[in-house]
Each structure stands twice: as C-alpha cells, then as structure tokens.
Amino acid sequence: MIYLLLLPAIIMLILSFSNIEKSKYILPVTSLLILFPSIKLFFLPRPYSVIGKYLVADDLSAYIMLVSSIVAICVTLAMSTLGLHVKISKKAYSRFYRFFAIFWIGLTLSILANNMGLYWIGLETATLSTVYMIKTNNTAMARKEAWNYMIVGAIAISLILFGIILIYASAKPILGEDAMIFSSLLEHAKEIKSPFLFEIGFAITTLGMFIKMGFFPMNLWLANIERASFYPVAALFSGILESAVMIGFFRFSKIAQAVDLLHVFIFVFIYTILTIFIVSFLIYRAKDFMRLFSLSGVEHMALIALFWASGGIFAALLHFGAHAFLKPALFLSTGILESSGKYKIAGALRGYRGIKGKIFYFLTALFLLSIVSLPPSPMFFSELYGFAAMVNIAKLHQHLLLMIGAIIILLILLSIIFYKFIEIYQSMKYEGKEETKVVYGNEVLALIIFAISLMVLLTPWSFEFLRGVS
Amino acid sequence: MILYTTTIILMIVIAPLLPSFMKMVKMTLLYKKPISIFQGYRDFSKLLSKEIIVSKETSSITSMAPFLVLSPLILTLFFLPPIVKGEYFVSFIDAFTITGLISLSTFFLMILGLDSASSFGGLGSSREAFISALAEPAMILTVFSVSLMADNLGVGQASINLNNHFPFEHMASFIFAGISFFILLIAENGRIPVDNPETHLELTMVHEAMILDLSGFYLMLIESASSIKFMIFSSMFASLFMPFGLHLPIILGVLVFILKLFFIALLVALLEVNTAKLRLFKIPNLLGIAIVFAFLSLITFYVLGV
C-alpha cells in the first residue's frame, strides 16, 4: 500500500528531472494517479495499518487523504493553463512538479502518521518543499516571501518538535518508547503523571501549528506569501498543507482533551477569537482577491480548530472538507478573476461569454457566497453544528454568560467578514466595466470537480460517515 | 325610535344656527350691526340654487369627496349621547370610532383640498393635517378618561352614567378632561385661536383654503359638514361635561340641551372676540396643553384610584 501511495509522487519526481518534451503533458496525467490509492484507502477496512504502528489509516486520515488528493488533482489540472494567465517559464513547470512530488510524499507521511516523530518529519518535508514552490514564481517579491516563509516556518516547525519532545517526556514514564504513538497516548492520556508538562508541550506544539496556519499574530504573513506565489501554489497551500497541519492539531488536541477538556477549549477559544478578531478587520480592509481569500482561509482554519476543540468533531470535519474544496477553488479562479488587473475587484465577475464562461461565472459566484456560509453551502451546516457544540460546552462551564458573550463577539466578527464578502460579491457582479475574459476548459473542469465534491459532502451518506469519525 | 330620529333631525336642523349665532354675538360685541341668526339657512338655500363651477384641473375626486365629507359626520350624529330621557341611543360606540369617523371626513376634505391643483388647497390641507394629527391623541385620551369616570367606554352609556351618578371624587380629573375637550372643540372646528373662519387670508386660513374652489351644492355640503361637526363637538361637550338635564321631561330636556349648545357657542364666541389668532407654529402649544390635560386627567383618575 505504501508503494501505491508514494508511487505517483516518485514517478513525478523522476520525470521532472528528465528533459522529455512531452513532460508537460505526462506530469499532470501522472499526478492524477494520486487519487486512486486515496480512494482505495477509503474503501479498505479501518483502521488499516500501512506500515506497522507507524502509518495507520483510520477514518480521519482516510477522509483527509481523500479530500487532499481531490484538491491536488484539481490544482494540477488547473495548473496546465497557468502560463496563459501569467508569465511563467517552462522550467518552472517541471520544478513545480518536482517539489510537488516531495510535498506529496511529506504530506502522505504526516496525514497517515500514527507516530508524532513521523508526523513531524512529513510536515517538515512538506514545508520545505513549499518554500521552493513559492519560488517557482521567479520574482523578487516571491523570493522575499519564500525567505520569510522559510524563517517563520522553520521556527514554527521547531516549536512543534519542541512540544512533541515535551509531550514525549511527559508520557515516557508510563509508556516508554510507545509515548510517540498517537493511539497509545490517547489511550493512556488519563494516566500521564505530569499533566502540566504535557500541557506545556501541547501549548508549544499548538502554538507552532497555529503559527503555521497563519493565526494571530502571523495573519498577514500567510496572506503575503500566497499573494507572492502562483495561484495554484496558493491553492495547494490553503487546501492541502493546512490540512496536514490541521490533522496534527486534531490528533494532539484529542489527547489533550482527554487530559483536560476545559483547558484545551479555553486556550483554543481565546486564541481563535483573537485570530478572528484580527482577521475580520483585516478582511474588512482587504483590497485584492488573494489576500482576501487567504485571510478568510485563516478565519476558517480558526473556526475548524475551535469547533474541534469544543467537541464538534462532525462540524469541524464538515467545515474542513468544505474549506478544503472551496478555498482552492477560489484561489484557482483568482487567476481568471484577476486577469484584468490585480486590484480590480469591481466587475471581476462580468464579461464571461460562452458556455465555459457561464459555468465559470456561476460556480465562482456560488463558491464566493458559500464561504460566508449561506444556506446550501456545507459551511452553513458545519457552522450551525459547530456553534452548537460550543454552546454545549459553554453550558458545562460555570461562566455561561461570559461564554455566551464571547460567542456573540465571535458572531459579530464573523458578520464583519460577511459584510465585506457581500460587498465584494456585489461589486464584482454589478459594478465596474465589463471586460471579456477567457476561461479554459481544464479550469472549468477543476471547478466542476470541486462543486461535485461539495455536493457529495452534503449527501446524507457523507454526513453519516463524518458523524462516525471519532 | 321616533324620538331618536327626531332628535337627530333636530340636531341637523339647528346645526346651522350655531355658527350664525356665534357670528351674531361677535358682531354685536364689536359694535357692528349683527347678522340674523338664520343667516346659515339663507346661505344654504342660496347655494342650492346656484350652478356648480367645476375646475378643469380637478378629477373625479371633487365630485365624490364632498358627499364623503358630510356622510361620516351625519353618521356620527346617530351615535351621539341621548339628549332626553328614554331616548334610544347607540350604546356601544366609543371615542375611537367617533374620532375615526370625524377623521374620515377630514381625510376626504384634505384630499379635496389637494385636488384642485391650487396652491391654497395644498396649504389648507397641509395645515389641517398638522392640526388634526396632533388633536387626535388628545381627543382619544380625553374621551377615554371620561369614559373611565363614567364606567363605560361607550359614549352614550357614559353620558347616562354621568347623569345618574356624577363622580364627585374624580372632579379634578373631570375638569382637566373638560378643558382638554374644549380646546379640541376649538381646534377641530377651526375657531379663532386656531383658525379664523371669516377671513380669506393665506397667512391664516386653514379650512377655507381647502374649499376655495368649491361652489354651489358642493360648497353647501362642505359648509353643512362644518356646522354639523360643530354640532357634534358641542353636543358631546354638552352631554359629557355638563351632565345634567337628562331626567327632565322631554320638552324641557330638549330645551335645556339647546340652551347648553347655545351656551357653548356663546363661550366660543366670547373667546374668539377676546383672543388673537395664533401663529400656525404656535398651535401645537395649544394642542400640547390639551394633550397634557388629557394625560393629567387620566393619571389623576388612576392615582386617586378606584
């Protein structure tokens, strides 16, 4: 199984070094192979052990793996016409695929890892390879941002490792070498002798992850990086790399919740509210699509973390899925939306001709409205259930009124974001000049795949599956 | 039932007398040669025989509204308190309905004012709207307060109750309501501090401005409407705020009632002679006094308690 999972990536890695003329077509096709092992993994009985205790596919990881591979193939699909929208050298394509392959290997490791160390290694691989993916856009700004990303990412990753070691140290007296294994940590979480040491470790790890996801105080950092890189790279960033971080957060916080539910909740709650506070006001001032979307990505990540920490697993996973599909889709469409100028929001949704253009226009408008969680969107349901989980945990808490007040503040902040998005949507659709824009088939196809995935996410079948994940 | 119909006809008949009477009193007091008290009838008969000049600019509203101005007021006459003992009366009509009917009449009058495309009409309607909007709360609060004192929301029954058993414990409340209602009587009928019915000066006129373009039969309808309106108010004042005389024999009772009406008219005329017309934007102050007295009446009633 492990070979099957890594094979496409390895093929890509090798192919990217060759100078075959056709590689431009072969590479995307190869990348499509990613999907099959994920699907297979999804239909195997779980938990399915890929490599002993190290790599285990349970419900959670199979789900995230599937979501990530769908996003990945859509991104590569849209990647092939990137050159028609922006200037890109031929070499950059193969470089992109080279690091994409490494990225994918790291990602597979971290998603499937049942071992903290392995998870960390996967995450690191993915992070470092993205540094190079940013640099495929060979501009001064991209280089600068890559450097920034490198520094902050390295610090974040070190913090994660630091925390992991502390967690390990706290659990080693009772578990020995098994203290690295997520599943056994979860089982024996209650027996940990020094919960404080564990919590310190958890706090540091979580801080590292939060920094990596662009939470407070790193809000604009991620936005700038995504602005500087090519939009498929930004899509990968927000769709997949974040999921690798997120799954780590899921696993660590699960253990921490077993140690002390309330501490985790309050920590995450305060942190995310702070993040959403900053992000909402930044969104209020955002003037271009990339920053807007990436800031809203941060917002959704914060919400997912919050829902998960308050015990709304179903809500968190649904939100996660919706976000993973919606955000890359929007990032991919950014290329077309921005084709009449980077900072031209007014009129961006006008001037689409032909059937392809119409479909693109329709889907993009739909996606835009979906990320502010209007009814048919999965985010509507996930936010409902997520806030429900929060209110429930507030009811257990002794400061109920305080908590409800905090939730109101959160909702008000979300409505600021809502306001901005509505403004932008209306401006895109009804203001500005109409300029004809070109849409290519593969991009539309990618968006259609995203749309179908979102619809699948809304089926009762997938609801049932997500409710089953624990 | 016959008595009922007779009193209503009587009221309609003596309605034009009251404005003429007031005018007569005023002229006498101003050392002018007074007009006859029957001047109202003469005017009506003259208007009936005249042809109607309809303005080109008007619409079908002009030919409909005068009827609708008059008919709610006549309808109101049916709901007024009884004037003699044993007379049939509509027991249930409350202040809100009476106010509503009067407002309905005013509504059509105001629309009529706007129909002729004349600037006077608009001017009159606008002022009338202003005054009647502010008069409405005072009216409702006053009559409500009186009804509470009389233990019945129905105006007719309230008058009988007051006659049978006057609430001396609520005298203060009663007087406040009386003052308030008297101000309303002046305001709603366009008497002097609020409006001067005898002048056609655009700075001051309200009621006359609205009907400037009417003539003949239509004008007669409107004029009789205004005299009936005065009749309604003064008869309500007579029944509710001078609650005596209902137990007298029929003929005497009617006489007392008519005397009361003329007494009210005299009061108004005296007031008119002795005051100057208020500026339009001072009128709310007067109506404000009415509202405050109405409130006071209600509140003292509540505070003194049942």
Binding site: W221 | I61, G100
Partner: protein, 626 residues
Amino acid sequence: MFLFDNLSILFLFLIILGVVPNLFYSFGYLPHIRRKAYYLIHYFAFIISMMGVVIAGNALVFLFFWELMSLTSWQLILTQIEDKSTIKAARFYFFMTHFGFMFLLLFFLIVTNGDLDISFAQMKVITSNFAYPTLLFFFVVLGLASKAGAVPMHVWLPYAHPAAPSPVSALMSGIMLKVAIYGFFRFMFDIFGVWQLEWGIFILIMGAISSLVGVLYALSEHDIKALLANHSIENIGIIFIGFGMGMIFSSLKLPALSAFAFIAALFHTFNHMSFKSLLFMGAGSVLHETSTKNMEKYGGLIKAMPITAFTFLLASISISALPPTNGFLSEWMIFQSLLGSANIDNISLKLAIPFSIFALALTGGLAIACFVKVFGITFLGLHRSTNAKHAHEVNILMKIGMILMSLVVVSLMLFTPFYIKLFDSTINALMNISIYDKIIPNIWSLHSISNNGGVVSPLILLAGLVVLTLILYIFYKSLNIKHRIFHTWACGYNTSPVTQYSATGFAGPIRRFFTWLYDPDIHFEKEVILGHKTKFVDARFSVHVRPLFERSLYQSSIKLTNKISYYVYRLAHFEQSRYAAMIFNMLLSVLFSYRIFVHEFSWATLVLESVVMIISVKVLLVGGKE
C-alpha cells in the same frame, strides 16, 4: 421536520392570500425586468422559503429556510440595478438580516442543546431549565425584530424596499415581515410558554416607539416606496403593541384579555399584509409608468390611472385606520386591549400604558396626514413633470393583481367574524382559551373583552355610510344642478403645476414641529435680481432629514469599525523582522497563561508576570521601532 398546526396553517394562509394577487401583478410586471429567468427563479424560491419557515418543524429547517429567505430576497433586490444606491441597499439589507440571523442561531443553539433536529416541544423543556431566560428573550427579539423592522433594527427598510422591484417590495413588506411575527408567536408560545412581565413591557415600548418613529420618518420622505417602507415600521410597531399587551396580560394572569390582544395583533398582521401589498403594487404601477420614485414628480395620475388610484385610495383609507375599514378594526381592537389596562392592579404599569395609547393615537393622526400627502400629491392636481404626463394605466395582469388585493382588503373588512374565528382557533390552540363568542356575539358587532369595553360594528358603519352617501347623492341628482367647467382660481394668474403644493411643503409644518428628531439638512438656493432679497428668478428648496437612529447607531458603529480596522491593519503590518519577536511574545504569554491559570492562580504572580510581558512587548515590538 415539518409542522402543520393552527399557527402554521394560519400564516400559510396569510402567505397564500398575499402571494396569489402578487403572482398576477408580478407577471404583469415581468416585461419590464431584464433578467427574467433570474428574477423568476429567485421569486419562487423566495415564496417557497417563506412558506418553509412557517411550516418548519425543527430548528434546522427553520434556520435553513430563514437564511434562504434572506438570500433570495437579497438577490431579488439586486434584480434591477439602477444606481449605486441599489447595490448599497441590498448589501445593507443582507447584512442586517444576517445580523438578526446570528441571534436566532444562538437562540436555537441554546434551546436545542445543539441537537437541531428536536421538536419545539422538546425545546420548551430545555428552555424551562435554562438559567437565563431573559437572555434568550433578547436573542429572539434581536433576531426577529431585525427582520420585522422594529426600532432600532428598522434602518434597512427604507433602503431595501425602494430598491427592490415593486412586486418584490410588496412581498417583502407584506409577507416577509409577517414571517418574523410568526416567529414571535411560535417562539413565545411554543418555546418559552411562560414569560416575565418585563418582556411584555419591553415589546410594548418597542412597538410604541417603532410606530411613532416609522410614521414620522414616513412623513418626511419624498420617495414613495421609502415612505411606504417607513409605514411598515409603523405598522409592525402597532402589531408589537398588541403583542406586548398580550404578553403583559398573560403574565398578569388575565388570559381572556391576553387572547384578545393577541387576536388583535394577528388581525393587524393580516390587515397590514393586505393594504401594504396593495399600496406597494400601486406605488409600483406609478413608478413603472413614470419611472421615478420621487413623489414631487407625480401629480394628476388619477386621470390616467383610475384603477391604480382608487385601489390605492382604498388602501390609504385602510392604513390610516379610518372606519369602517379593516385597518380601523384591528387598531380599534388594539386600542381596546390597551384600554383593558384599566382593570389591572399594577399601578405603575397602568400609568405607563396611557403613553402607548398616546403613541398609537398620534400615529393614527400622523398616518392620516401622511396618506393624504401620498395620495394627494401622487394622484391629484396637475402633472408635476413630463414623466407624469405620459403615464397610462398599467397592463391587465397588474390591474388584476391590484384588484384581487383590494378584494382581500375588502374581505377582511366584510368577513371580520370569519377571520376572527380563524385567529381565535389559533390562539385557542396556543393558549387554551376561546373568546370568539365574547368578541363576536352576533355578526353585527365586535365586542371588546374588558369590563365595560366598547363595541364596534363594522357592517353597520359601512352600511350607514353607504346609505347616507347615497341619500345625499340622490338628493343632489334630484336637484339637477347645472355644471360649468372653468380653471382653478389662482389669484388671477394661470394655474400651473409649479404653483401646486409639493410633498415637501405639505409635510412642512409637521417637519418643523419635529425638527429635533429630523435634524433636517436644508438646501435653499435662490438667484436674486440685483441684490434684492425678495426678488428672484429661480429658487430651489430641498430638505433631507437625517435619520436619528441611523446616525447614532449605525454610522457610529461603522466609524468604530473603520477605526479598529485601521489600528488592526497597522498592527498587522509590522515589518517582517518582527515576526520572530511576535512569536516570542506569543509563546511567552501562552506559557504564562498556562502556568497561571491552569496550574495555580494567584493575583500577585499575575501582576508580576504581566509586568514582565509588558516589558517584553515593549522591548521587542515597540521599543525597537526607531
């Protein structure tokens, strides 16, 4: 999932009653809409979502349709973009409705314990165990009042309604606001069950203020649809007065009076649906023919558009609460329930209620003034612009729509007992008390329920008016008087459209009296001759009121948001070299908090450590700035 009890069916009936005439009107209006498919899809989705809300049986379905209702109505407002203000209005509307949705969401989350599939009965159990019911009440009020448009959440109405196509304005104002009223009934009875006295008083005060504010702003408005929208605020206020009285009586354990007040509120809900839809249709027809919303450009339309004018007149009389119309009857009932307060023991409450009576009465008076203005300026006099000159009667479908709607108005007037029976059975299902026999002992009269209460008889009033008018008319005909046609007298000059009274002028005295509320922005320009003050060739006078609530509540919060966002923006735009410092401080504070709050808490260490934190932030973030 879905629930079909009396209340749901009643409101479903209301929706159908409002929608059927609107369908005709809408199809008549369709040729003037450019994006037809777009319009129709959203139009029907909007209707379905409104129906969905009133038959929703659990929180999830309710919220889903509620948000769908907002979404579709928002899209409908955007059907025809005339200028930037439409876009702004749509955005503002959507934001406000979303804002309300948040509170509803929060409310449902609390009362369902997070399980959104449970029925209302189960929610009631959870609610009764919840420690802070007043909190829940305020969530409901904020959530629903923002949709209903009660003060101070009313600001969106005068913007959103004018921007929408007219059939949609009619739907939004006529029906969508009522869906919020449905929510009040549903939540108060099925989720709360019992309520505190203060809640009722709160609703009552909110209603009284809404009714006054609504009508006052309506008077000063020149945009016909904005004016009608402001009147919706007023009428919602009146409904709330009835509702609040019902709640007060219910918490004072006076079930019969309470039921009466609730019936009055329901009756007014129906009435407002009928006449407000009709008014919006009429305004839509006028707007469509003259292509302007500015009342100052109308005039004399009654000659070109008689059907529109007369249906509009009917609705105007009804909304002004003049007898014998349905609007009068429901306001009469609300008055009677206010007067029922004479029977209660709570003296302070008793003293407070006259203020509501005052508000309601003043509202009535001002509404009359307002509708004289609307009808008079729009339909009477001479054409004030060429737009009005070329107006024609609208097409047959629109006419059918308006006529059907006026039939609904008339039916509410004529078949009052039937409707009251309907409301009574609904209230009976909710409160277990039937007072139909007391209200309507015979079909001729409508009784108040309180001691010595009043009685009104709509049919007798109507019949009396008709008979008297007929007698007068026959008398007039029998005289066979000669007619002569001539110009209106204009002091010897020609009558001209310019010299007519304008809407601004009409509202002048009232505006002047309420200057403190309006704070008007007055522009007066005149071109004088040779420096003479009084001689001028051209003069222009315009007044724009500055809405108090919008200024104090909304614009200031927008300012606040801008300010905060500015500082946040600055905070976030630290140079890249600060990233490490930020992480450093964040790590420090996270570990601090863990140490202090998780392990053991002492104030001394908290202070000490915050001092350390401050130093660190100062040194690393602020200090190194130069």
